[in-house]
Subunit: 154 residues, 3 copies
């Protein structure tokens, strides 16, 4: 036990079941985004969800605003014929104080990278970021109540 003796205590982790659910929620959520389904993607936020980025002056507040803002971005991208892929990984998930009577409340910290490929062109890294979410579970579904994305290099 000496090896661990000097190490600080760590936060309790979520169960394997919750962790697998969260990874799959993130995967499906990003697949919605990258197929251009802004509205389905916005359904992954709570109705009062917040989406903040360190490169934007103001967060997007509420599912409706999130959907319409992302719709504009995706339409511009589609016009340019660029396919983006959002990879979200390296997820640390820790139980959080319950909010809004959710069945589960979890904080996550993670990395996200965006790859992009122009039509007929070469794939490349577009962006490297880190993120922090407050997630709530209602029944079998997870929702983002608060997301903050930090763009590297900004």
């Amino acid at each position: 036990m000496t090896a661990a003796g000097t190490a600080p205590a760590t936060a309790p982790a979520v169960t394997a079941e919750a962790y697998a659910q969260i990874l799959q929620f993130y995967a499906g959520h990003m697949q919605d985004l990258d197929t251009g389904a802004a509205e389905e993607w916005a359904e992954g936020f709570t109705e009062d969800g917040v989406f903040a980025q360190n490169v934007k002056p103001e967060p997007w507040r509420g599912r409706t605003h999130i959907a319409t803002s992302m719709r504009r971005g995706l339409d511009r991208l589609a016009e340019r014929g660029v396919q983006r892929r959002h990879w979200l990984s390296m997820v640390v998930a820790t139980p959080a104080d319950p909010v809004d009577g959710a069945d589960d409340t979890v904080r996550t910290r993670y990395y996200a990278v965006v790859f992009e490929t122009p039509r007929g062109g070469q794939a490349s890294v577009y962006l490297s970021t880190t993120g922090e979410d407050l997630l709530v579970r209602r029944g079998a579904r997870w929702f983002i109540k608060h997301r903050e994305i930090f763009h590297d290099g900004a």
Copy 2:
């Protein structure tokens, strides 16, 4: 419950146990590929497995054909001294109707990126793709019965 009230029902997810098994199957399967072990990699398909790509006119059909076709590709790559790494992540796994009396049958949708590094050179992104598999489990092992890969930008 209002937050979830307007959201569509989602497909049931596989268990954490199955999800962890599938992630590890994918990891080991790609490690086989990237070490040049085409035959071991082909063992990850069922004997009647199919490997289709949107950039190929015809799918590869059957484990033997898959092995010999991949062997040719890997040999060319080895001659050029290029090391590729296939990353497969962002996996959504959902239970599917049983096929061939398998112990488990699962559909997956995922992202895959290929990095490559020439000998003495710089790593870069070679390719961004998405994929869809039909997986079957027999005892402790998973197999790909059908795989379709969609290259971005094609």
Copy 3:
């Protein structure tokens, strides 16, 4: 059963619980590294931990040496204003013979890629590697007893 009939036996896998713990350990460990917390990152090794790389003549031996060596590297990086992100994924984890009376002993093989973003600049792939760890669990915490990293292209 014919599909699996010709396939070789595979190593037993770790449980979903252990797999989720290991993925989260790796995520948190790399987050420590990329925020410049060399000392916290070094706490992820056992006191007698070893960190070897195929591009270094000698491994770093012992947590103290690992911490001071990484501190120098991170300080140089901070001076240059470069943000690196270490992604570790594609993890295969198999139970290993117990060492040092650990509660769990596991071998892993994985891929790791480093992205980097200069201040005000564009993200890119810096490095593609593979790795092999010997991990031990003491209570709720995982530690690296031995890590070997193989840089692609070296």
